[in-house]
Amino acid sequence: MIDRLPGLVNGDEALVRRGRFLTCDFLVEVGDVAYHVSVEQGRIASVTLGPALMRPWRFAIRATDEAWREFWQPVPRAGYHDLFALTRFGRARIEGDLQPLMANLRYIKDVLAAPRRLARSA
């Protein structure tokens, strides 16, 4: 799912505009699998499957396979429907420098939720 982000995000003009002031790398962990997501002015420049040795990131969002699977349902069930619902119930962790995340929170949340559209159109 995370590897589909470039297509899902970069084709969404409103979403790219929302993130136009963000250029940074962040890490998404789906269970044991790490993805380095590189954002340049709101566009997803690359998604690199980890582990990538000595590659820095500003913040990391780590959750179990199950948590992401439920999160990406077209209409997710309660407790799995939001990044902070996941962290609130111990299903996800956010680490690192939170400033770029919080300053672009709606953008990041929308990026992470973008794979829901795949299920909707399936």
Binding site: D82, A85, T87, Q99, L105, R106, K109
Partner: protein, 284 residues
């Protein structure tokens, strides 16, 4: 065809709160039993506009919602520019009771959401004999914090954007987009630091876990309704609270989140109308 004009009327009342003059905005619609509505933290009374446009409610209730000072169209008190806003339990109770008395409301039913749901528990405990009933939406005697409020008011993060983005997940997943975004717009419009100041009450100054057992529901019936998608005030928080109040009624609202009256008004009606009917029948 004539343009549709809603039955809601807005006015200002001048109150003394905390020893200071305050110009307080309120809206109302309907006739009958006073139903005094308290908005959530970091938003304002517009959240109740759907109830005020619902004849099933306004045929029997005078629905009134005021904006707390610092919120909506109520101005902050003179000198605000040099102080940090912090709501306390005492100030919140004073605001609600002073407003109610100023309008001459006779045993109003007080319905609050989120922090408004928290304060109705204290109102029922301390002023229950002056009230007709309380309805706590997304209400509990205490909740576990789920984020650091320092992010809400600082120069390197836009306050309106981050407040809305934080609470966006508290809207139920099935909520119609139109109402979801109008709910979040309210958060985007809140003044700098106001949401954070409200959360001082909600997080620091309102642990009512030892307080709610003292509520006399014969004098002031208590109704608690919480959405299944609310992970701030969870259904478990509400049910735990209700279990401590002898005679309290609690219900979990399927598919709703933390802002039931404005995020999905149609779904909310199914739950709130029977509660209002019950209150009306008991009062007749």
């Amino acid at each position: 065809m004539a343009a549709r004009i809603e039955p809601i009327a807005g006015r200002y009342v001048h109150l003394t709160l905390g020893g200071r003059p305050c110009r307080v905005y309120f809206e109302e619609a309907g006739r009958g039993i006073p139903l005094l509505c308290l908005h959530t933290a970091g938003s304002d009374g517009r959240q109740f506009r759907h109830l005020m446009n619902d004849a099933a409610v306004t045929d029997h209730f005078r629905v009134i919602a005021f904006d707390l000072p610092w919120h909506g169209k109520s101005t902050p008190p003179i000198g605000w520019e040099n102080e940090e806003y912090r709501l306390t339990t005492a100030a919140y109770v004073e605001a609600v009771m002073t407003f109610s008395r100023a309008l001459g409301l006779d045993r109003p039913v007080v319905m609050g959401c989120s922090m408004g749901g928290r304060i109705v528990l204290e109102l029922a405990a301390s002023h229950g004999r002056e009230l007709g009933a309380v309805i706590g939406l997304e209400a509990a005697d205490h909740q576990t914090p789920w984020y650091d409020t320092e992010w809400l008011h600082r120069p390197d993060v836009h306050g309106g954007e981050v407040c809305a983005a934080l609470v966006s997940g508290l809207v139920g997943a099935p909520a119609p987009e139109e109402h979801r975004w109008e709910t979040l717009w309210g958060y985007m419009q809140s003044g700098p630091g106001v949401f954070k100041g409200d959360l001082y009450f909600y997080r620091v100054d309102s642990d009512f876990r030892d307080r709610v057992a003292g509520i006399d529901t014969r004098a002031c019936p208590v109704h608690l309704l919480t959405g299944s998608y609310d992970f701030s005030c969870t259904p478990e928080d509400t049910l735990r609270t209700a279990a401590k109040i002898n005679g309290a009624e609690a219900q979990i609202m399927d598919g709703l989140g933390h802002f039931p009256m404005c995020e999905d008004p149609e779904r909310f009606r199914e739950y709130i109308l029977p509660v209002l009917d019950k209150i009306r029948a008991a009062r007749a």
